[in-house]
């Protein structure tokens, strides 16, 4: 209750948000390892290898376009108890008392209890990872981003993640993958 006051402030600020002065690029920019030469392989072969490698990593293929050498895939993972950090301050106190009378006696009672905010309900968030790969015949390029979506469907984190580790492991997986599905 004590944090009610920021609601109107937020609404006012949301009302006067201004357009950015430039269309943004990813920050950080895709790592150098996220782009490599096609080694003479046809773009369709790269697409086939990418499908196998991504599916082995737990990705679900969302879209392909062989004429562009494009693969789009995504992977979701549950982040347990993501919202708990923010809810921890909501601690409540409840209590009660009672007076009872009987024949020849009087009894009183008081009870008090403390309760935590999360109340035993796990509020898991979802981590969504989206990847696109384009093999245009000369070059193979990979981009990736990660979003964390909380239990209410709000995006809590959004960032580009075309980093060295991911691209190198994907590239290695594709290099050792047979496009017919074997390893």
């Amino acid at each position: 209750m004590r944090s009610w006051w920021w609601m109107p402030c937020l609404l006012v600020l949301a009302g006067c948000q201004t357009a950015p002065t430039a269309l943004p690029s990813a920050e950080p920019r895709p790592a150098a390892e996220c782009r490599w030469e096609g080694d003479g392989l046809a773009s369709e072969e790269w697409v086939r290898r990418a499908l196998t490698a991504l599916e082995q990593e737990g990705f679900v293929i969302r879209h392909t376009e062989t004429a562009l050498g494009l693969v789009n895939a995504e992977r979701t993972r549950t982040v347990p108890g993501y919202g708990d950090f923010y809810d921890r301050e909501r601690v409540g106190v409840f209590g009660g008392y009672g007076v009872g009378g009987g024949r020849g006696g009087l009894a009183t009672g008081v009870m008090i209890g403390f309760g935590g905010g999360s109340g035993g309900i796990r509020r898991d968030a979802t981590r969504l990872e989206r990847v696109s790969l384009v093999a245009d015949g000369d070059w193979v390029r990979v981009t990736r981003d990660i979003q964390v979506i909380d239990w209410q469907g709000d995006i809590r984190e959004a960032r580009s993640a075309s980093d060295t580790d991911f691209c190198l492991s994907l590239r290695n997986a594709m290099a050792t993958t047979d496009s017919r599905g074997g390893v």
């Binding site: 376009e65 004429a67 562009l68 959004a158």
Partner: protein, 118 residues
Amino acid sequence: MFRFAILLLALVLTGCATTAPTPEPRELSLAATPGAVLQETVDLLMEEGYVIRHGDVELGRVEAALARWPGYRVRAEVTPEGDAARISMTATRGGRPLPPHLLDRLLAALQTRLGLAP
């Protein structure tokens, strides 16, 4: 009374926020085949770090997203125009259209990639 004022203010501001005009495209004619323009657009957006969500050569359409709050999206449509191609780009930020002049940098980079820079 004070709460009522806040509610009223919230409703007024919500009313402002729901007007979502259709994005105004930035268009450019390019002396290249539609296929080449589409491929270079995809490559350019990948270099910029965008994740390509959808692409279709026959429809001449590409859609890309950038995961930065509140979420950016760029859409390009390429149509044949005689021997050349015409590209039409729109961008949104958090679902709201961005001014078309912000796409000039991308279109200039696309011209350079196609070897058509003035």
